[in-house]
Amino acid sequence: MERTLLVVDDAAILRAKIKEAATSIGWMVVGEARNGKEAVELFMRLRPAATTLDLVMPEYDGIYALREILAADPNAKVIVVSAIEQKAVLRDAWSLGAADFIIKPFTKQVLVNAIANFAPSEKRLATSTF
């Protein structure tokens, strides 16, 4: 499986920053979405190795997208990236199955580390096959 990333954020500046960080460690950004509905559509079509997901977005929010993506693929790796650091929100995201949670504003290193954690490992895949 390739290192493919779907970036979901309504803010163009953050999509650009996430894209820059991901490509710097060899990931390929295969899609960018501005709201939860676009995110779900792109996820179904692209099936990326990981997804970064903002929570507060216009029309369909990140919680909607998280629920739909994980319903379609319970093993999907979704990194929630949000400026909201409130217990209730964190609890919701974890309980739905978020793989990680990054608080904005983040440093490039924090983001890079989080994405790298979900790099598909060929060795691990090969081992699990047998």
């Binding site: 803010a11 500046i13 953050l14 507060v56 977005m57 400026a83 909201i84 409130q86 904005k104 504003p105």
Partner: protein, 216 residues
Amino acid sequence: MPQEENPTVLLAYPETVNGPNLLQPLFSSAIFDAGLAMSRWTNSAITLSLDGIYECPPADVCRELNLDGELLTIVLLDLEGELGGTIVLIFTERDGRRLASSLLDIAASDDPEWTELECSALAETGNILFCAFADAITRLINRPLLPSVPVFVKGCNVDEIRNATVKRIPDRDTVLICRTGFHCERDAMAWNVLFIPTVALHAEMEAAVQPYSKRW
């Protein structure tokens, strides 16, 4: 001057724990957190200071903040949920442009049309600032305050800000202004924050800090 003769200057009477002054520790904490978030976001030493807490009629907001006559850029965000409110970040156009160029690492543009990235840079600045602010208040009142998608508006005049403010607080005849000073390194910046809680949120915040006020 007795306080009742000048109701807009409450921080000049620190011994008084009535009214908005009661909220000083809460706002100080929120502003400290917001300053850390802004420093991380802008990658520079941004310091925020609580310069005053005022209550005034919505129509007087721009005069209180010395904004008359300026062309302004605002980022506006509503707090959703049971306890609502509005937060407005106000820049002069020139300062807004400077911030956007710094965040994007490009030369400041004087093109009247803003690019999507420039608009997004300022909207996200508001989002990050307000979320840090709301998170700090949430920790104290123990109730969620979920910010809406930030709305970025450029080229505003004071009437538009006044109208937007009045529209958002139908249940209030006064606006609580948390006057916030912004400094980058040592330079003061012409940014302002308006925090306009609903009556319910205002009461909730006061109730949360009330037990601590007896220790002052």
